[in-house]
């Protein structure tokens, strides 16, 4: 692993050791975050897949019934019947914090079943199949909003997992080995300096002793 080019001093060594500790702590935290995000993400994806399959079945029937109704009824009458729905299709958008990822939670405004009017038109000019289709679609509105919530959560969690995994890998395979290699090389250089200093001192001492010995001999 390539080392970072720094001066081999004790000051740099201390700084790098601190950085290595921080990097190791960050790596552990990010890895835990990634694991927890993954768990939540897979739950969301599984739930959303099941809900989507259910809704596909329901809405296919609704569209079919609506097709029949459209064939039997005058298009103007049909549009007029649907112009004023039984309830407002509005959602309350709240946000939820999942491991510091802000995800939306959409709640359907008319969640109280007694509020649901469903059929809000006169029966004089419409057919029976449109009533059934309208009831079906009103019943699936809440599930549709929940599906939107789950899929958006899956999308946001997915991009956050991707980012976190990159960070974990960068720390694990690049930054931490780089710091470790640089610390090792600085320690080796400092040890080498220490040894050379010690040898020099020993040599000086020997020379001094030799000089003193020579002086006493004379």
């Amino acid at each position: 692993m390539a080392e970072i080019r720094v001066n081999p001093t004790r000051m740099e060594l201390k700084k790098l050791k601190n950085k290595l500790n921080t990097a190791r702590r960050g790596h552990k935290l990010l890895k835990n975050k990634c694991d927890e995000l993954m768990k939540q993400f897979l739950d969301v994806v599984r739930e959303s897949k099941t809900l989507r399959t259910e809704l596909e079945g329901t809405l296919a029937e609704v569209v079919e019934e609506f097709g029949c109704a459209a064939a039997e009824t005058d298009p103007r009458v049909m549009t007029e019947a649907l112009l004023l729905p039984g309830f407002e299709g509005e959602v309350m958008t709240e946000t939820k914090n999942v491991m510091s990822v802000i995800v939306p939670v959409f709640r359907h405004k008319d969640s109280d079943p007694s509020v649901r009017g469903g059929v809000s038109y006169g029966f004089a000019f419409t057919t029976r199949s449109i009533d059934a289709a309208v009831r079906e679609i009103c019943a699936s509105t809440e599930d549709l909003v929940r599906l939107a919530s789950l899929e958006k959560q899956a999308q946001l969690l997915c991009s956050e997992i991707e980012k976190t995994r990159r960070r974990v890998n960068a720390l694990e395979y690049i930054l931490i080995p780089q710091y470790a290699a640089t610390i090792k090389s600085i320690s080796m250089k400092l040890d080498e300096n220490e040894r050379s200093n010690l040898t020099r001192l020993m040599k000086v001492k020997d020379m001094m002793l030799e000089g003193r010995g020579a002086g006493t001999d004379q």
Binding site: G67, T79, V134
Partner: protein, 102 residues
């Protein structure tokens, strides 16, 4: 309070008027993109797009993928293969492989 919009062919999405959703009937991809932009401008937090307009869903994922709203979601109509592929692609991006196995 946000609204819910549905973008797609008129014959497929007309029924969503009964749920109180705003509908945006479109003929093609460009019209659909414009409808999504308009829906966002009009305060729609959830925008369902008919699954045959998969190009629009890809475009919206790039444009609004990182923001909390609007949620541009393929409508659960038809076979739903494209929508499931989208979910599978999320799994592949997050995990590295499709571990859900379908």
């Amino acid at each position: 309070m946000g609204k819910v919009a549905v973008v797609g062919r008129e014959e497929n999405i007309l029924c969503f008027l009964a749920s109180g959703f705003r509908i945006f009937p479109v003929g093609g991809t460009d019209e659909a993109k414009e409808a999504v932009r308009r829906a966002k401008k009009e305060g729609c937090d959830v925008i369902f797009v008919s699954p045959e307009l998969d190009e629009v869903i890809g475009w919206a994922d790039e444009k609004y993928g990182e923001s909390v709203t609007p949620a541009v979601i393929p409508l659960p109509l038809g076979s739903g293969d494209k929508a499931k592929e989208r979910l599978t692609s999320f799994v592949e991006r997050a995990v590295g492989a499709n571990i859900l196995g379908d």
